[in-house]
Amino acid sequence: MHIISSRLVGELVHPNTARCIQCTIHRNFSTTKTLSELRKLSTVKIVDNSLIGKKASESGKKVKILQVYTRNQVARVGDKVLLSIQKERKKAYIVGCVQKPKAMQPRFDSNNAVLIDETGAPIGTRIRVPLPSHLRGVSGDFTKILSIATKFV
């Protein structure tokens, strides 16, 4: 049970609509868990050994999603996204999600992505983290990404 303090939210409930109006102002305040969906402007972690990915992780600047190439605008494992990385625009594939997957499929602690160039081939030569096994069954051209992977779970 969550008890909302009166200091945070001035008037709790509007008399007519029975909806918390002040809560809309405090956007960081919520009583439910986060969905951790990958949408526009959410951050990802680059897991291949490409130079630009290394630079981004060393500088500590966030790698953000600019566009998700799916119909519902939410990226999951195997979806293509556009990233802003080191003041450049690069395309990438999502290879691991925090968001709750189906049963028997792995849930990762971070949102992982692998950078690709314009032809669809990966920029790096190695992926250091395990990839989900069901990525081998996802439709799309993943053969080059799967070939540079080290482990599957």
Binding site: K33, A103, S110, V129, P130, R136
Partner: protein
């Protein structure tokens, strides 16, 4: 009466048509059950006086912690769900059928487990995953458990349905209990506490020995956390070490609000299984030979 008939609802109109006097209305629509109906119910074979109590077979001695070993046998008493005894009984039958095909061992939250399941895309067509069990939930055929491991510095979790037919083998590498009901706080703890080697060999407990309880205290990472762990009354987690002075102030026991739902007696009644029901179910399941491995 005419004004009432025009303005009132359908129910009042119906009364008005069929009734002749106000006394007959009271008789017809009273809340009391007439005496003749009560008598008929008493004499019928469906009444509770005629139902025979089932004979308890006292020769079968069920171990005391049987329902703790196999919590999925208990019926579903999740709040907001309709209780369905027939469905629960049918699911119990299905669970026993599955247990005749495969050995599903007893394990607890905190034990180290290896699961090998059919994987269509793997070269060997099987996928083996090793990890620490951090949560068990669900009743009947929907019973799930979550395994967690850290592989190459990457935390990975997989949820399995225990009665999934694609599971080929479940091994218990280390049988152990923890002081908490769940270990979901390992997501916010250092990685060393949830790393399990894939080459770990199983260590067996001697027969008849109780399952050891691991009373380890884990210091969590600094905030932000995924859940509000401090409100969950956890025994195996240390919260206050990695916090600033301002954050530590909030952790005074007097300032944490008590959980109110703990004192909700009706909720407890709705969500708990009665002792009699639990005993009858455990006796029924223990009788089948598949339980005695």
């Amino acid at each position: 009466m005419a004004t009432v008939g025009r303005t009132c609802c359908h129910f009042a109109k119906r009364l008005q048509l069929n009734s002749t006097s106000p006394q007959s209305i009271i008789k017809r629509w009273s809340n009391t059950v007439p005496q003749r109906l009560v008598e008929r119910q008493r004499e019928s074979s469906l009444s509770s006086a005629h139902i025979k109590k089932e004979d308890v077979d006292k020769s079968v001695k069920v171990p005391k912690d049987f329902t703790a070993m196999y919590p999925e046998f208990l019926p579903n008493r999740f709040e907001g769900w309709i209780t369905d005894n027939l469905r629960d009984a049918l699911e119990r039958k299905d669970m026993l059928n599955r247990r005749r095909q495969i050995h599903l061992p007893e394990f607890y939250v905190g034990s180290l487990i290896a699961v090998s399941a059919a994987d269509h895309f793997a070269p060997n067509k099987t996928n083996r995953f090793v990890g620490i069990c951090i949560d068990r939930f669900g009743q009947g055929l929907n019973h799930c458990f979550i395994l967690r491991n850290v592989i190459d510095g990457q935390g990975v979790e997989i949820k399995y349905f225990l009665y999934n037919p694609t599971i080929q083998k479940i091994e218990v590498l280390k049988l152990e209990k923890r002081a908490d009901e769940h270990l979901r706080y390992l997501r916010d703890a250092p990685q060393e506490y949830s790393t399990v080697s894939f080459d770990l060999k199983a260590t067996l407990l001697p027969r008849g020995q109780p399952v050891p309880v691991n009373n380890i205290k884990i210091t969590l990472n600094p905030k932000p956390w995924l859940e509000k762990w401090e409100r969950q009354e956890l025994n195996g987690a240390e919260f206050t070490v990695n916090l600033s002075a301002k954050q530590q102030k909030k952790f005074d026991v007097s300032q944490i609000q008590p959980r109110i739902d703990k004192f909700d007696l009706m909720k407890k009644h709705r969500t708990s299984v009665s002792k009699r029901e639990r005993e009858s179910i455990s006796r029924e399941m223990y009788k089948s030979n598949t339980m005695e491995d």
